[in-house]
């Protein structure tokens, strides 16, 4: 089955110029290139799967996993987990609420559709630069991961939920602001511009033209973000922002498999509930 044996002319009566597959050399090249690229990557990530099966790491792993069954179900522990779960949800919700307050002005300022000067030709320099600045702020806020904001705030305001709320508020504020602006600008601007042309103010045009047009999409995106924030807030616990993550971190450091198992199950359930709730609401709005 070598390529060269393919170039014989077919046995039938027809005489056709038979060809080799022109893509073959390309395929061989990309295959070799993939190996050449993958090799240093695997070295850099210390990709040694057999490490997982060495007795020195397999033994603690099995012991830890063995501890998972049965999960810890003492009433005292469960109350604590319930309290921390609520804290996780509360951090996410409060964070999203503040993020909303940051995002709305950013979005309204940065929408071009609401520009009065742009109605008659180009936008003036001052409003253009203000819009540009609002956009830049949103992008900057968003480009720093919430975990890094949390590290910063833990150092400024100390350990606790405040750092988590602020971290989520800033990152998600940037994200929401950017996406809100995108959603509001994606629609048909006709209704809004005609309001502006008839002499209504920018906010009036926003509330009567843009907002009703896009409210369902805006709500569903916000709810989806809330779902994301719940995952984030659990993760932020690992750097000391409180909630389920922080408890999990402590339990993991003590190799308390049963406690970790309980919290993992609770967390998975929490994510699923948030997932279903937000999917349900998005469907109800559509």
């Amino acid at each position: 089955m070598t390529p060269t044996s393919m170039t014989n002319s077919p046995g039938g009566g027809m005489t056709l110029a038979t060809r080799r597959d022109p893509a073959w050399m390309g395929r061989v090249f990309w295959f070799l290139a993939a190996i050449v690229i993958a090799w240093p990557m695997l070295v850099a990530t210390e990709f040694k799967p057999w490490v997982l099966f060495e007795p020195s790491s397999l033994k603690p792993t099995l012991k830890f996993l063995g501890d998972f069954v049965p999960p810890k179900l003492e009433p005292g522990f469960l109350t604590m987990v319930a309290k921390e779960t609520w804290r996780t949800v509360a951090i996410a919700t409060a964070g999203i609420a503040i993020a909303f307050l940051i995002a709305v002005p950013l979005a309204i300022i940065s929408i071009r559709v609401l520009s009065v000067s742009a109605l008659t030709g180009r936008m003036n320099l001052l409003p253009a630069s203000v819009r540009y600045a609002a956009r830049t702020i949103a992008i900057l806020l968003r480009s720093v991961p919430e975990l890094i904001w949390a590290l910063v705030f833990v150092r400024v305001v100390g350990l606790g939920p405040t750092a988590g709320v602020l971290a989520i508020a800033l990152t998600y504020g940037g994200m929401l602001g950017k996406v809100y602006a995108e959603i509001l600008e994606s629609g048909e601007p006709h209704a809004t511009t005609s309001l502006l042309r008839n002499g209504s103010g920018r906010l009036q045009a926003f509330f009567y033209g843009l907002l009703p047009q896009n409210s369902a999409e805006l709500t569903s995106y916000t709810v989806y973000r809330w779902e994301c924030a719940i995952r984030s807030s659990a993760v932020l616990g690992f750097v000391g922002a409180g909630g389920l993550g922080q408890q999990m971190d402590t339990s993991m450091k003590m190799f308390a498999g049963a406690e970790v198992a309980t919290m993992l199950l609770v967390f998975i359930a929490l994510v699923w509930i948030a997932d279903y709730a937000s999917a349900w609401l998005r469907k109800a709005l559509a």
Partner: protein, 277 residues
């Protein structure tokens, strides 16, 4: 109630719809959300006052000022370069693992045609959901026990979480693929594996690739912070230097992170453009 005498100022049907309707499910949900928000603020004991105090504002300002003065010490930059490459490699290898594992799990998780019994569908979907709902950082913390500190734990963590995400998306893509090509092969008694390779896969491959690239953009951001729990790369350096309050180094690391993220975004965008041709 429904008398036709026009005594009311507005006839009932001309009144605007009531804002809150007890039968409107979305209204109840929004109401619940409001309650949730109020309760959250009430129970959290937030010291927001503290953050807006002069003292903390000054500290915050100093902090941010220090963050904008990066160091360019050659020895440090060399270390930074190694960590940056490590982060990049983690994201790439993690995504590759996820795409492979995701595809392997998506096959039993999808019902490809009407007569397909799809026996493993429920179990596989449950597994995918479990993989997906645990964030990368939690996976990394869990995997430290068996993979040890370092980039390998981070890579596996990225791989496992993303496999859950991609597996579900892949399964949906496979289930939604047009049926006619697969039907023609199935009608000739071709086995399911080969039907997938010759009919379904060539149809969904562009979609699978674009999902994978999106997740790669996502994973570079995750890989940058995984080190905070010991998963290697830039994050590990960041938490080390920030813990020692070495602000110039921290600043350089943050800049490296942003550049890396931007680079991967551009690369992924370019790759998606090439694939659309």
């Amino acid at each position: 109630m429904t008398s036709k005498t026009p005594s009311a100022a507005n006839e009932t049907y001309r009144l605007p719809k009531r804002l809150f309707d007890a039968r409107c499910k979305a209204c109840w949900f929004v109401f619940g959300l409001l309650c949730l928000t109020v309760a959250s603020f009430a129970t959290l004991d937030l010291q927001l006052g503290k953050i807006f105090s002069a003292d903390s504002a000054a500290r915050m300002g100093k902090f941010l000022l220090e963050l904008t003065s990066p160091t360019a010490d050659p020895a440090f930059l060399r270390k930074l370069w190694v960590a940056t490459f490590e982060t990049f490699a983690m994201s790439l290898v993690g995504t590759a693992i996820a795409a492979t594992l995701g595809l392997l799990l998506a096959l039993p998780a999808s019902k490809t045609h009407d007569a397909d019994p799809a026996r493993g569908r429920g179990v596989t979907r449950l597994l995918l959901n479990a993989l997906r709902s645990i964030p990368e950082l939690m996976w990394a913390a869990l995997l430290l026990i068996s993979a040890g500190l370092g980039p390998f734990a981070g890579t596996l963590a990225l791989g496992l979480h993303t496999a859950g995400v991609l597996g579900r998306l892949f399964a949906e893509a496979i289930e939604n693929a047009p049926q006619n090509a697969a039907f023609a092969l199935r009608a000739r008694g071709v086995s399911e594996g080969r039907v997938f390779l010759y009919a379904t896969l060539p149809q969904v491959l562009p979609q699978l690739m674009s999902y994978t690239l999106y997740r790669w953009e996502n994973n570079i951001r995750a890989a940058a912070v995984l080190g905070v729990v010991g998963g290697g790369g830039l994050g590990q350096m960041l938490s080390f230097h920030m813990g020692l309050f070495q602000m110039p180094e921290t600043s350089s690391i943050l800049i490296a992170m942003m550049l890396l993220v931007a680079l991967v975004d551009v690369a992924s965008y370019g790759a998606r453009r090439v694939m659309q041709r």
